[in-house]
Amino acid sequence: MTRSRSDIVWIPTFAILVAFAVPWPLWGVDRVVAGLPVWIWWHVAWLGLCATLFALFVRSGAWERGMGQRPTAVADAGTVEESATPTADTEGDR
């Protein structure tokens, strides 16, 4: 079992992350909040969200499973900090 079914959810997640990095719902809105147009804040917050979800994608092991690789055991357990995770690929360090 290399791919878990719940990993499929990452595909629509990435699609939404890309699509709404552009603040479409604020099209034509001209409110200024805290010194900047509000749609700029949307974008700033959205990119923060992207970074968070990307980190989660990596940490959950979906990164390897998506390519049919085996995530490391520690990553599977989901308890160990990323920095402590040894190289995950089966080829080892190069």
Binding site: T2, F14, L17, V18, A21, V22, P23, L26, W27, G28, V29, D30, V32, A34, G35, L36, P37, W39, I40, H43, V44, W46, L47, G48, C50, A51, F54, A55, F57, V58, W63, E64, G66, M67, G68, Q69, E82, T85, P86, T87, A88, D89, T90, E91, D93, R94
Partner: protein, 494 residues
Amino acid sequence: MTLGLSLGIVVGYLVVALGLGLVAYRVSETTAEDYYLANRSIGTLVLLFTTFATLLSAFTFFGGPNLAYAAGPEWLIVMGTLDGVLFAVLWYVIGYKQWLIGARNGYVTLGEMLGDRFGSTGLRALVAGVSLLWLFPYVMLQQMGAGEALVGLTGGAVPYWGGAALITGFMILYVAVAGLRGVAWTDTLQGLFMLSVVWIAAAWVVSSLGGVGAATEGMLAARPEFGSFGGGTYTPGFIVSTAITIAFGVTMFPQINQRFFVAKSATTLKRSFALWPVLVLLLFLPAFMLGAWAAGTPIEVPDGANVLPVILGEYAPAWFTALVVAGAMAAMMSSSDSMLLSGSSYFTRDLYRPLIDANASERREAWIARIGVAAFATLSFVASLFRPGTLIEVGDTAFSGFALLALPVICALYWPRTTRTGMIAGVAVPQVAYLAVVLSAVVGAVPTLPRTVFGGWDVALGLMVLSGALTVGVSLLTAATDEGDASRFAVAGD
């Protein structure tokens, strides 16, 4: 503040960057893997910044603020979306897959990878040729940016051609001595430097204008339409097609694509991926907002000049402006170095060796590479003197040309049924069509074909769809050749 000091800062900075390259050269080995890939040993910080710095180009520092100044701060959204999010996803989809395949089979270039998979020297040469073709305008863009930057900094005392020539000289010198290790080292230094400097610049200007709120108010007083999202240049068609063509195009840039082969480990790629959106935002937010805020200030930006140095010249001390221009020029130099270095590996490995002299010695190959770089940079320097468009236009042309490669490559990476004929059709036909569109604007004898249709939709986006459709369609109609080997791209199941 004297002209001499400004110029001294610029040249001094370039010399320091060159010195660092020399140090890197001394620790490197003389093999092709080290020269082009630094022995596949690049760690997270350096990988992140060397990819980042390659994006730190005249397109970002001068083109971006110029567009925000002229058309509004929406450019931040376009670039943030394509670079921060879409490129990051492609970093995984294309980059990680290529890393897995490349590490397994020892590939150095995209053309080599595809040529091996499909058993086709022709495809290998085609991909390399197409890449070199679009690299040309992008290197030229850096020379144009440097020429304009020095005109702005020195008030015209250094002519446009002088700035372009200066950076061309440094580029050639640098690539000749450093190799990827040197480029990667200076990229990291430059990335950190430019990131800090652009924030200091923004803080300086904003505090002179009386704070962020006042700066935005000033901008809205002068250009009320800047406050609302969309409108003017920024039609939905423009936003979507620019974001898609540039993001896909970036992945096929030789210098970016080659980065997919250099990571030390998967951990390096993973960390870079998660940090990417934040890093991109940290750079684009102050750079492009400075351009937009400048619209509300009384500064005059002369024709052909860039807004960033002009606004700094108004609100920051001259030495600081010189430092920013120096940093931007050094960033352009390092972008160009990465491009020229990768371009030279495409040239020697995918064109020269397979087609002209398969038995050339390593020494001979190294010389051919360096001569190739010098010739390429000199030709693009000559072309840059004609200034065929704005920085954004020239850059966008190059990005779109590369973007047309992306879908066939993704097909090859993920769909084992892809055939050699499918690849060649999917790469060649859209390229010929796009080249016709681009050249029709340059050659006076033929009618100019439209670059955009239906309110801002780029024809390159349509050609991208065509490239994917042709690759899939022709692959379905043709049989795989005996020389092809789909198992070369298999990475799963071990």
